[in-house]
Symmetry: C2
Subunit: 665 residues, 2 copies
C-alpha cells in the first residue's frame, strides 16, 4: 500500500496575498483551540476535585454505602448528561471535508496553502456508521480523549502501583494457585465467554438484531477483554473492607496477573485475525502463531520488566531526590522500552514494580522509600479516579454507542458462566494438590468478587472502529458500571465477607496452624532458598553477605559482589527477617503518626512487615488473626540471635507499603 502523489485542487474562493494577516489568523485559531483545551481539561480537574471532597465527606462521616470509584463514576455520569443535553457548542466551522478515493490514509499530510506548508497528522477514523455530520458538537468531540492516553499515561502508574504494593509474601505462598487462576483461568474464561457470545451473536443474526459483522474472533476478543478482573477495584474495595490476607493475596495476585494475560491474549487474538475475514474456517497455523505471539510477548515483557527491575543502584542513598527521580525514570523507561520493542509496556511495568519492590526497594534510603511510596500512591489515586470519572462521562459523551439488549443480556450470562468455569473447576483441581484447601465459601467470594474495571475499559476503548467493537465497548461500559456498583456497595460486600469471608478465615486458620512448616510447596521453598542465598545478597545489601552463602571456592568473587553494608547488616538481618511474622501489636497507629527513622549511620531500619497495606488516611489498623506464627513485638528483644542459615518460618519480603515501625529512640 504505497502512497501516491495527490493533487489538491481548491474550488470556490480567491487566493489571499496577505500572509501576515493569515499568520495572525492562524495564531488566533491556535490560541482559541488552546483556550478550549484548557477549559476541557479543567472540567476533569474539577470533577476530580469534587470526587476528592466527596470521598473526604464519606470518610469523615463514615458513610460507606458507595465506594469512591463508584462515586467518581456517578459524578462523571452527571457531567456527561450536562455536556450532552445542557451545553451545545456548534462544530468549529473551520473543519473541512474533502473527498478522495485512495487506497490508504497517510499518517501525515502536508498541505500547501498559497506557498506555505502546513502539516496535518492523522487523528483517527471518524465513525462511518452515522457519518461525520453526527460529530457536530464541538464540546462532546473535544471532551473525548485519545484512547491511547489510557494505555500510555493512566494505566501504567496504576499497574505499577499494583505490582509495587503486592503483598509478595502472601503472593509467593499462593503462587501456584495464582498462576493457575491467572493463566489457565483467564484462557478458560476467555474461551467460554467467546463461545457463549458466539452463540448469542448467531441467535441475534437469526432474529435479525445484528446491525453489522460480528466474527468469532470478535467474540474471543470480547472474552479476553472482559476476563480481566481488576486489581484496581479489588485493591480499593478490599482495602476498605479489611478482608482476610490470604483471600486478599489470592484475589489480588490473580487479578493483577489476569490483566497481563488479558492484554497479551487480546493482542494475540488480533494476530490470529490478520485479514479480518470471518474465521468459520479453523486455521491451525494461525492458532499456533497466536499462541506463539502470546508466549513471546508475555515472556518478553516479563523478562524486560524483571531485567530493569533488577537493575539496581546502591550508592545514591545520600541524595534522596536523585534516588527517587532515578527510580521513577527507570520504571517509566521500562514501559517505554517494552513498547519500543513491541512488547506490552503494562505487563513489563507490572513485573518491574514487583521486582523493584523486592530488590531495589531494599537499597533505597528510608527517605526515598517513603518518597517513592507516596509518589506512586498519589499517581495511582489520581489516575484511578480520573479513569472512573471518565468512564461515567463517556456513557453520555461517546457518540457512537451501540446498545443491544440481547447482546448485553448474553454478555452478563457469559461472564457469569466464564467466571464460574474459571473458579470452581480450577479450585477443585488445585485442592487436590494443596495442603490448605480453598474452601467452598472462599470460592464463592472469588466468584462474585470478579469486578471489571479500568483495564477492561482501556482495552475496550482502544479500538472502536467497527460495529462489533462499538457494541463491545458499550456493553463493557455497562458491565464495569454494574460490577463496580454492585461490589462497591458496602452492605452487600459486608455481608459477603462476614458470611463467606470470615468463616473462611476461621476454616483456613485451623488448617494453617496445624502444619506451618510443611505447608509450602517445594518450588516455593527452592525459589525462596535461591533468592535468599544468592539473589538478595547480590542485588541488595539487605541479605547475608555472599561470602557466607557461596561455597568457599568462590570466595574472591563473592567478596567483589558483596556491598560493605551487607557485612554490617549480617547480625541484624535475622532479626529483621523474623520481624516478618511479628504481629502488629494492635495499637491504633495513625498514618500521620509515623516517624521516619534516622539513618545517619547507614543502618537499615527494621519494619514490621506483617501489617497489611494501609488505606490512605485510615486511622485504625484492624489486626487480622491469620498469622502463621504469632509472636508479640517485644521492644526489649533487641539482641539478634546468631544466624547463618535462612530462618525456616520467616519470609524475606519487605513490604514497601507496610507501616514503618515507630521509632523507639
Amino acid at each position: 500500500v504505497l502512497p501516491s502523489i495527490f493533487t489538491f485542487i481548491f474550488v470556490g474562493s480567491q487566493a489571499v496575498e496577505n500572509t501576515a494577516m493569515d499568520n495572525v489568523a492562524t495564531e488566533r485559531r491556535a490560541e482559541e483551540s488552546h483556550r478550549q483545551d484548557s477549559a476541557d481539561l479543567l472540567i476533569f480537574i474539577m470533577l476530580l476535585t469534587l470526587t476528592i471532597l466527596t470521598i473526604w465527606l464519606f470518610k469523615h462521616r463514615r458513610f460507606r454505602f458507595l465506594h469512591e470509584t463508584g462515586l467518581a463514576m456517578i459524578y462523571g455520569l452527571l457531567v456527561g448528561v450536562i455536556l450532552r443535553f445542557g451545553v451545545h457548542v456548534p462544530r468549529n466551522t473551520n473543519n473541512v471535508t474533502m473527498s478522495c478515493s485512495v487506497n490508504a490514509s497517510p499518517a501525515t499530510l502536508l498541505v500547501n496553502v498559497s506557498g506555505r506548508f502546513y502539516e496535518y497528522t492523522l487523528k483517527g477514523e471518524v465513525s462511518t456508521v452515522k457519518g461525520p455530520e453526527v460529530q457536530d458538537d464541538e464540546m462532546l468531540r473535544k471532551v473525548t480523549f485519545d484512547p491511547e492516553v489510557f494505555f500510555n499515561i493512566l494505566l501504567p502508574p496504576i499497574i505499577f502501583y499494583a505490582g509495587y504494593s503486592l503483598k509478595r509474601r502472601h503472593f509467593f505462598r499462593n503462587l501456584g494457585s495464582i498462576l493457575a487462576y491467572a493463566f489457565m483461568g483467564t484462557v478458560i474464561s476467555c474461551f467460554v465467554i467467546g463461545l457463549v457470545m458466539y452463540g448469542c451473536v448467531s441467535l441475534m443474526k437469526t432474529v435479525g438484531q445484528l446491525g453489522g459483522d460480528f466474527f468469532f474472533t470478535d467474540c474471543l476478543l470480547f472474552g479476553a477483554i472482559v476476563s480481566a478482573t481488576d486489581p484496581i477495584t479489588v485493591l480499593a474495595i478490599f482495602n476498605e473492607l479489611k478482608v482476610d490476607v490470604d483471600l486478599y493475596a489470592l484475589m489480588f495476585g490473580e487479578s493483577v496477573l489476569n490483566d497481563a494475560v488479558a492484554i497479551v491474549l487480546s493482542s494475540s487474538i488480533g494476530a490470529y485475525q490478520p485479514a479480518g475475514d470471518n474465521s468459520h474456517t479453523f486455521d491451525a497455523t494461525a492458532l499456533i502463531k497466536s499462541f506463539g505471539v502470546f508466549l513471546g510477548v508475555f515472556s518478553g515483557s516479563f523478562a524486560l520488566g524483571v531485567a530493569t527491575g533488577v537493575m539496581t543502584f546502591t550508592k545514591l542513598r545520600d541524595f534522596p531526590l536523585l534516588e527517587t527521580a532515578l527510580f521513577f525514570l527507570m520504571s517509566w523507561s521500562t514501559f517505554l522500552l517494552a513498547e519500543a520493542c513491541e512488547m506490552t509496556g503494562v505487563v513489563a511495568v507490572l513485573f518491574c514494580g514487583m521486582t523493584q519492590a523486592h530488590y531495589t526497594y531494599n537499597n533505597l534510603s528510608p527517605d526515598s522509600q517513603n518518597r517513592t511510596k507516596q509518589l506512586f500512591e498519589l499517581l495511582n489515586f489520581l489516575a484511578e479516579n480520573f479513569i472512573f470519572s471518565y468512564m461515567g462521562l463517556t456513557l453520555f459523551t461517546f457518540q457512537s454507542h451501540v446498545f443491544n439488549p440481547m447482546f448485553i443480556i448474553g454478555s452478563f450470562i457469559s461472564i457469569f458462566l466464564g467466571r464460574a468455569a474459571n473458579i470452581y473447576p480450577l479450585s477443585f483441581l488445585l485442592n487436590l494438590g494443596r495442603k490448605n484447601k480453598i474452601g467452598s465459601n472462599f470460592q464463592h467470594v472469588m466468584m462474585f468478587a470478579g469486578l471489571r474495571g479500568a483495564m477492561t475499559f482501556a482495552l475496550s476503548i482502544r479500538d472502536t472502529a467497527t460495529y462489533a467493537r462499538r457494541m463491545m465497548f458499550s456493553t463493557t461500559l455497562l458491565i464495569v458500571f454494574l460490577t463496580v456498583w454492585v461490589c462497591g456497595v458496602s452492605p452487600d460486600n459486608r455481608s459477603l465477607t462476614s458470611t463467606a469471608g470470615r468463616s473462611t478465615v476461621n476454616a483456613l486458620d485451623g488448617i494453617q496452624r496445624r502444619d506451618t512448616e510443611h505447608e509450602r510447596a517445594w518450588p516455593f521453598r527452592m525459589w525462596y532458598n535461591f533468592d535468599h542465598t544468592y539473589l538478595k545478597p547480590l542485588l541488595t545489601h539487605s541479605g547475608p553477605p555472599l561470602t557466607a552463602t557461596l561455597p568457599a571456592c568462590c570466595g574472591h568473587l563473592a567478596h567483589c559482589l558483596t556491598s560493605p553494608q551487607a557485612y554490617e547488616n549480617e547480625g541484624r538481618l535475622h532479626n529483621d527477617d523474623s520481624d516478618d511474622l511479628v504481629l502488629n501489636d494492635g495499637n491504633a497507629t495513625m498514618y500521620e503518626d509515623v516517624t521516619v527513622s534516622t539513618d545517619a549511620l547507614g543502618t537499615r531500619t527494621a519494619n514490621p512487615k506483617h501489617s497489611r497495606m494501609p488505606a490512605f488516611g485510615e486511622h485504625e489498623l484492624v489486626v487480622r488473626g491469620t498469622c502463621l506464627v504469632m509472636q508479640l513485638d517485644d521492644p526489649t528483644m533487641s539482641t539478634p540471635p546468631p544466624a547463618t542459615s535462612p530462618p525456616p518460618f520467616s519470609d524475606p519480603f519487605v513490604d514497601p507499603f507496610s507501616e514503618p515501625r515507630r521509632n523507639r529512640l
Copy 2:
C-alpha cells in the same frame, strides 16, 4: 477568513475495495508510529538518567567545575550531534504533499478515503524558507517537541516551585526593591535591548547581512524574551554556592517576578503588532492598547493566582493523600483556569504558589506538608533537567537555525547594556529611599548573575515561523548556553561571591544591626499587621483567633470564622513566631536525618525558619551571619511567653522548605 468547500481529487492510483486490508494497514502504521514515539521518549529518559547519575558522581566526588544544568545541556548537545550526524532515518514515505491555494489552513481536515472519513489535525506550519523537503530526516523531526509542551507542561511546575519555595520573609522585607527591579527594570532592559538591537539590525540591513524582515516590534520582543533572568538557574546555582540570604532574596525575587513581567510584556508586544507591518510609524493608540493588555493580563493573572491560592481547606488533615491530591489539583487548575480565561497561566501559578505557601501550607497536616514539598521538588527537578537537556539537543536537531554573527555579537552587547541600565540606575534611585543601602559590590553581583534560562528558551521557541523569530531563537539559545556555563562554572562564581558577595554581607550586616526595628518601610509594616491580624487568622489556623484581633463589636462574626484549632494554638503561637529569627544552631544536619514530628494531638510543629532552603542531598548547612536578632535555639525554653499583639521583630512566614526541627523526643 471563512473556509470553503474543497474538492480533493486523487490522481494516479486505483481505488481499493478491501477495507479490512486497509484497516489492518492503518493499524500497523499507527503501531509503528507509537513504537517510534516510545523510542524517542526513551532517548530523553535515558538522557535524564545519565544526567542524574553524573550529578550524583559530581556531588559524590565533590567536583564543582560545572553545574548540573550545564551538564544536562552538554549531554543534550552530544545526543543532538549523534542524532544529527550519526543516525539517518529517511522520511516516512506515507507523508503526502498536497498543493492548494486557499486563504487559510483549517484546524481540522476530514478526508474522505473511499467512503471512510479520516480526521487530520493541524500540527503547525512547516518551514517555508528551505521548503518541506529539508525535513526529510524522520528522527530529527520526531525528536522535536511541540513548543507548547514547554509552556503547558514543563514550565508550570518549575515556576510553581519557585513561588512555593520563595523565602517570603526576605522577599517581603525587600519587596519594594524587588518590584522596582522586576517591573521598571525589566521594562527598561526590554527597551534598551530593543533599541540597541534595532540599531544592530539597521546596520545589518545596510551591510546586506539581513536575510529577511526584522521589524522594530521584533526587536522589542527580543528584548522582552531576553530580559527574563531565570529563577531556575539562580535557584540552582545560588543554592550550591551558599550566598548571602539577602542577596539571594533580592536576586531570586527579582528573577521570579521578572519572568512574569517578561511573559506578559512579550504577549503585549504581540498586541502592539496586530497586522505584522513594520512600526516605523509610531502608533499611540496601539501603545496604549499594549499597555492596557499588559496591565489587564498581569493583574488578572495575579488576582486569579491569589484567589485560588487563598482557597483553603482545613478539614482534610486526617487524610494526607486526599489533601496532597487536592493541593496538586488546585495548583494545576489555577494554571488551566488562567489559560482558559486568556490570562497567563505561568504568572497565575507563580502567585498561587506564593499564596499557598503563605496560607494553605499552614493548614496542611505535617505529612502533607512533607508530601507536597517532595512532590513539587521532584517535578521541578525533572522538568528543569528535561528543559536543559532539550536545549542542548535542539542546537543540533532544530532544522531551521539562523545564526548571524553580527546579530549574535549585537545581542550580547545589548544584553550587557540592558542589564546595566536596569541595575545601576535603579539601585541608585532605590538607595535614596532605602535605609540599608544596596552596596556597589552587591550591584555588580546582580549585574553579572543575570542568567538566562528555561523561561527565555520557552518564550523563544514558542514561535519560530518567521525569519526574525528563527534568528531570535538561535541567538537566544547561544545566550542561554553562555550564561549558564559561565555563571554555572564554580571557580568564577566562587571568586565572585568571595570578593563581592562576602564583603557585601559584612557591609550589610553592619547597617542592618544598627537599626533593626526601623529598617522596615511603612507599607511593609502595614501589610504585615493586616496580614497577621486578619488574613492569617481567617485563612489558616496558625494565627491568633479572630476573636482576639477583631474589635469587640464583631465578636459573633469573628467566632464563626475562627477555627477551633486557632484557640489551641493561641498560646503556642508567639513561641513559633519568635522561632523565625532563631539562628540555626550550626549542627551539621543531614537531610535524611530529618525526623517528621508526631502530630497525634493536632498540634502545630515548630520549625526553625531561618535556615535557607536546603539543596537536595546537601550535608552541611553552612550558617550565614546575616541574622537580625541572634538568639540561640534553647531546647529548655519551652514555656511560651504570653502574647497578644504581633511580636515586633519577628516574621510570620513559615517557610515550607526550611529544615524541620530535629525531634527531641
